[in-house]
Symmetry: C2
Subunit: 307 residues, 2 copies
């Protein structure tokens, strides 16, 4: 299922202590929704860390607080998908991320007639639907959240999630929005202890992370509808990089976006499609989110492949 060199790469990864229980969580969630014949989406979200020391004080990180993933998860839930949300520890989570105001500011304790805590009136209107939707999807078991921190944890959990999702065939959608590090330092080359600044300038040499999209598409979930993301800062290379990825990995879609306009415009690129999804400034100001039309369109395209 995996080439020998990739197998040995995986063997050298450092699994988190609770990897088995997380894997079990993925498996149980998948099995349940397979039985219920639900469509399922795996969303990866947030950045991965690459430690610079084995007792880690310093690490390289990728910019992503997980807004794309958290927001998209909500729209997939509203479209009836079971959502497996693989996210960076302490990055944004569906519904919860909408509590952008410090929640403590809007809570009041009343001890006159037994202790109660209530939400102050002006905030009720915006908070109530968030609380309701959160409970609707959590309580019905449509959302499963599993977190990672390091690149190693992400890769091991991604492989485990793909194994679980392979049984869904074409009903599984993969929405790989996590910002995964392209570079890493192999465990064997890491210094054990915190790098001392008294040693002078710091020279780092990082290896390239194997591109797991290749075995994922070819071997792990060959029938799934796989969507990857291409985030660039240079508009001149965005589309060509996205098309290059599609050609290399032969998956179903790349969503291309630029760091500074990613909340206003994205481009869906597949073998027979190059379609821009964008919001006007008025829509943005009114609080509309680009993930709403994007996920709606994506769900249609996925449905069409199910025949």
């Amino acid at each position: 299922m995996t080439s020998p060199s990739l197998s040995s790469f995986f063997e050298e990864l450092t699994a988190p202590e609770n990897f088995q229980s997380k894997k079990q969580q993925l498996d149980d969630f998948s099995t349940k929704h397979l039985e219920q014949k639900n469509r399922i989406v795996l969303i990866t979200s947030g950045g991965t860390t690459v430690p610079l020391e084995s007792k880690t004080v310093r690490f390289i990180d990728n910019f992503s607080i997980g807004r794309r993933g958290a927001t998209s998860a909500e729209y997939f839930l509203k479209q009836g998908y079971a959502v497996l949300y693989l996210y960076r520890h302490r990055s944004l989570q569906p519904f919860h991320h909408r509590l952008d105001k410090n929640i403590l500011d809007v809570l009041t304790v009343d001890s006159t007639n037994g202790t109660t805590i209530s939400v102050q009136t002006p905030f009720l209107e915006s908070l109530a639907p968030i609380v309701q939707q959160y409970h609707r999807y959590h309580d019905s078991g449509m959302l499963c959240q599993v977190d990672f921190t390091t690149l190693d944890e992400y890769l091991l959990l991604l492989r485990a999630a793909c194994n679980a999702l392979s049984w869904f065939g074409r009903s599984a959608l993969l929405y790989l929005a996590a910002a995964v590090s392209d570079f890493y330092i192999p465990a064997a080359q890491l210094p054990e202890h915190k790098i001392q600044s008294s040693n002078g300038k710091l020279q780092l040499s990082l290896e390239m992370t194997p591109k797991l999209l290749k075995p994922l598409v070819k071997d792990w979930v060959p029938n799934a509808f796989t969507v990857s993301f291409k985030l660039e800062t240079d508009p001149k290379i965005m589309i060509s990089k996205a098309k290059g990825a599609l050609e290399t990995y032969k998956h179903q879609m790349v969503i291309a976006n630029l760091l500074h306009t990613r909340r206003k415009e994205v481009v869906m690129i597949s073998s027979d499609l190059e379609e821009k999804v964008s919001l006007t400034d008025e829509e943005l100001d009114a609080g509309k989110e680009i993930e709403e039309p994007l996920i709606a369109r994506l769900v249609d395209i996925h449905a069409a492949t199910l025949g």
Copy 2:
């Protein structure tokens, strides 16, 4: 006030867009508490980022979610200090960090008699004191929170805060718990765009960050009581590194701690003191926090210097 080479280092730093308004916030808070003759503590908390590209996708970060800073801030508030809390964006904040359970889990919407949101009974008991303390200290203006992300932002805000605190003389305590990067890449050496993985291995060369503790102690707040932290992973060098820092910077105290035991044991080191503060396993299990005895002891030591 600052040496020529350090002045030029500061001139090359990239200030955040809202730097002036943050500076104003620091100044207003300090002025108010100077008039009220309050003792004041500047707490720095969380890690700093060092961008690897000027349109930043990747960066080096320091491990710290800010638990030491957030918890210490609460104990300083309880001791009557005005607290200037300079913290990494999205790291832990006083009181708020105690909502470790997903707050949405414990909220319920009731729409029977007009919409209300309330906290479910079993969680009332633990949540009520957090909400009450949060409001007590925020509403009385004893806590001022200002956030940073990059190393540059941190350094500029630290200097601004020191300028504001210099008027307090010995009544100011500096509690520098932030994990500040020892290395950085000067802005002029940064690539503009996202580093492409197609270029192969990544070689990075980082310069040493100037040690700002030196001008801070000597020039910026020469009369303040300054406490720095020394976090190590190797127990063999912890005490000697801490004593070395004290000798180099000639400030009042170093708090030494090890990454893996930092919530159980710290050592306060000053010119005439080497004192361990620790918790038993029973105290830890009962939820006691090492910051409670640590801040109590520190406040006593600070008070003794005020005569």
